[in-house]
């Protein structure tokens, strides 16, 4: 029987399950313990598992992410929580220079089985330094697996798969999704290699991930009322990208709009579009289009923040423009 869980509850269940299943697993990060997690994901875990395994860290991203890499090398299975993606920039060195490269530069001697979770994305009026989507930057780096759970089911299932991975895995949790509810099967097993069709359609592929998935689905519903059948693809795994699912959809719909909360220039959307151009150019009936964040730091004022981000209305407009039916 599937259960109704919030994305947050699903993450917490997954953490609890992982901690129970493997004594090598531990969680560390800022305020994961006594505070209960910045987004309350780890609430209650300190009481159950104690301060060794639910380890509060100083405000020291470079230090504790690097220590997580070392602990992984030393045989543990650390889950490191970074409060937001913006703070992860303080830990780029251990993530990119060390975790992602160590196996290669040691000639295959040392793998780094670390899982790094972090909140990402905008939409809560927390302004420029707490609202970014840098998933695309991390997806640039060979040696990393980059996951973007957008549903409660993926929130529940991706952690176990990430922990089973012998290499570093980054999990991006969009802050707007924590309260989202969804059906979660009893024994959730999900893969960390494929994209998923979330809504089937025939006229246009809406390709997205993370916090933009609900917006894409909302856009598809609005388009349906206009007689346009949109297919929604949830990329789920941002590195390595699942080209096959994307191309199958694009070849069927012959038009595609990529929706990405990252800034337009050098975005993950740009990479997806390039791949479609390389692999399915002659199947297209219209130029590719994308809806990304505007090229501005995320503003505080609500109306300005909304204007900066992808929205269902912008997606609908982009599709209408593709179909030559813009108002």
């Amino acid at each position: 029987m599937p259960r109704r869980l919030s994305y947050r509850e699903a993450l917490r269940e997954a953490l609890r399950e992982a901690l129970l299943a493997d004594p090598r697993v531990f969680l560390m990060g800022e305020d994961v313990g006594r505070y209960g997690g910045t987004y309350a994901v780890s609430k209650g875990l300190l009481e159950e598992f104690g301060p060794e395994r639910i380890r509060d860290t100083p405000l020291s991203e470079l230090g504790f992410v690097g220590a997580g890499v070392g602990a992984a090398l030393g045989g543990m299975r650390p889950i490191v929580e970074i409060m937001t993606v913006n703070f992860s920039l303080l830990a780029l060195d251990p993530i990119v220079n060390t975790a992602a490269m160590l196996r290669h530069m040691s000639g295959g001697q040392f793998s780094v089985p670390i899982v790094i979770r972090m909140a990402t994305g905008a939409g809560r009026q927390v302004a420029a330094q707490h609202s970014n989507s840098f998933e695309g930057w991390y997806a640039h780096v060979p040696g990393l697996r980059v996951l973007s759970p957008a549903t409660a089911e993926d929130a529940r299932g991706m952690l176990a798969a990430a922990l089973a991975d012998p290499d570093p895995v980054l999990i991006f949790e969009h802050a707007q999704l924590y309260n989202l509810e969804g059906d979660v099967p009893d024994h959730t097993v999900v893969d960390t290699c494929s994209a998923r069709v979330r809504l089937a359609g025939t006229d246009v592929s809406l390709i997205t991930f993370g916090g933009c998935l609900p917006k894409a689905i909302q856009a598809a519903e609005q388009l349906a009322m206009l007689g346009i059948s949109a297919e929604v693809i949830d990329l789920r795994v941002l590195r390595p990208l699942d080209d096959a699912t994307v191309m199958t959809s694009v070849r069927k719909c012959r038009r595609a709009v990529v929706i990405d909360e990252g800034w337009r220039t050098g975005s993950l959307a740009a990479e997806v579009m390039a791949r479609i151009s390389e692999q399915a150019f002659f199947d297209l009936d219209a130029p590719l289009a994308r809806v990304c964040s505007e090229e501005v730091p995320i503003p505080y004022a609500r109306h300005m923040e909304e204007a900066a981000l992808p929205q269902a209305s912008k997606i609908v407009a982009a599709v209408q423009a593709l179909l030559g039916s813009a108002p």
Binding site: L62, G66, G70, G74, T98
Partner: protein
């Protein structure tokens, strides 16, 4: 004070038996001869990229590494040929790695800066200044959390203490945030890390006083509530005795210790370095404190070493180098078809 005045050369009795004493001399000669050859091979373009020589600093690795146990972890910088060698990585594999051959200890993917060896818990070969410090902290955290048994397995393990992680880094790293964050974590969580700062006075071309507001490095470390030790890094005897004591403390108290090993590199920072930032006279002054000739003189004056024995040790080191070069020359290039190998872990790999 004359800028090029240096402390008197290390003197005094060597408090070791002959075998141990000569082994330390052999350590230093092996590093010296290997690196002199590497520099020569660089000139012949057999070795390319960055090559950071340890020449002048050998007493640190020689005194320190023999104080460690087989199960301890070792994390080093890109100036790590000597540490790798004394940790037990074969000179053949080190030389082949510098050549970029697949018989190298990192299969030719790492080069001079990225020597790794799983068998000896040798975790690099880290190319980012300060990057090894959080890594070492995490390795010690893993040992503490998993209660990894001591390297020497015996029924008196408690008495023997647990494994430690020795982290070597230069004084340049002490200006990095990674240093401070790692010191804080290691002290806060009481982790068994032996922080070994090899202070050679120059962070590439920047002298200590030009990069640190506080040039008393032990004082910086002590601010984290950590025991500190300062030692003459040109004196293999002093290095070994202090590291032995510090390692014992780290193992038994499961707490970090910081050591400043005061040393000097006789060669340029890397082969690209024209050495415009320091006076040749300063280098010459430091050479009077050279770790090999001062130690040799002490051993001889004590009657622990004859010239014949010295020549035999040196010849053995040279023969090892010659064999390593032959091994590297005979090594093979990894096929380009394997380019994408070891980016991620293949299924079923360890």
């Amino acid at each position: 004070m004359n800028a090029f005045q240096v402390p008197a050369p290390p003197t005094g009795p060597v408090p070791w038996d002959k075998a141990f004493a000569l082994a330390r001399l052999s350590d230093m000669l092996r590093i010296r001869r290997m690196e002199e050859k590497a520099a020569e091979l660089y000139g012949q373009q057999k070795i390319r990229g960055f090559l950071h020589l340890y020449i002048g600093e050998e007493a640190v690795a020689s005194g320190a590494l023999c104080a460690l146990r087989a199960g301890d972890n070792v994390v080093c910088t890109y100036r790590e040929h000597g540490h790798a060698l004394l940790r037990g990585v074969a000179m053949n594999a080190i030389m082949a790695e510098m050549y970029g051959k697949q018989e190298g200890c990192s299969r030719g993917r790492g080069g001079s800066m990225h020597l790794f060896d799983r068998a000896t818990h040798f975790y690099g070969g880290q190319g980012i200044v300060g990057g090894g410090l959080p890594l070492a902290t995490g390795l010690a955290l893993a040992d503490k959390m998993s209660k990894r048994p001591g390297a020497v397995s015996n029924p008196f393990e408690k008495r023997e203490g647990g494994p430690l992680t020795a982290c070597f880094f230069g004084e340049g790293a002490m200006a990095e945030g990674a240093f401070h964050e790692s010191m804080n974590l290691a002290a806060l969580w009481q982790l068994p890390v032996l922080f070994c700062c090899e202070n050679n006075l120059y962070a590439m071309g920047t002298a200590l006083a030009r990069s640190e507001s506080q040039t008393d490095l032990c004082r910086k470390a002590a601010s984290y509530g950590m025991t500190t030790e300062r030692v003459d890094g040109m004196d293999v005897v002093a290095v070994h005795e202090v590291v032995k004591r510090a390692a014992h403390q780290v193992r038994h108290d499961a707490r970090p210790v910081f050591m400043e090993l005061q040393t000097f590199r006789f060669r340029a920072h890397s082969m690209f370095d024209p050495e415009l930032y320091r006076d040749k006279q300063e280098v010459e002054a430091w050479k009077t404190r050279g770790p090999i000739h001062t130690y040799t003189a002490r051993l001889k004056s004590q009657g622990l070493l004859s010239e014949t024995e010295f020549l035999a040790l040196d010849a053995a080191a040279q023969a090892e180098v010659d064999a390593a070069v032959a091994f590297a020359e005979a090594g093979t290039w990894e096929p380009v078809e394997d380019l994408l190998r070891d980016v991620t872990t293949p299924q079923g790999a360890p």
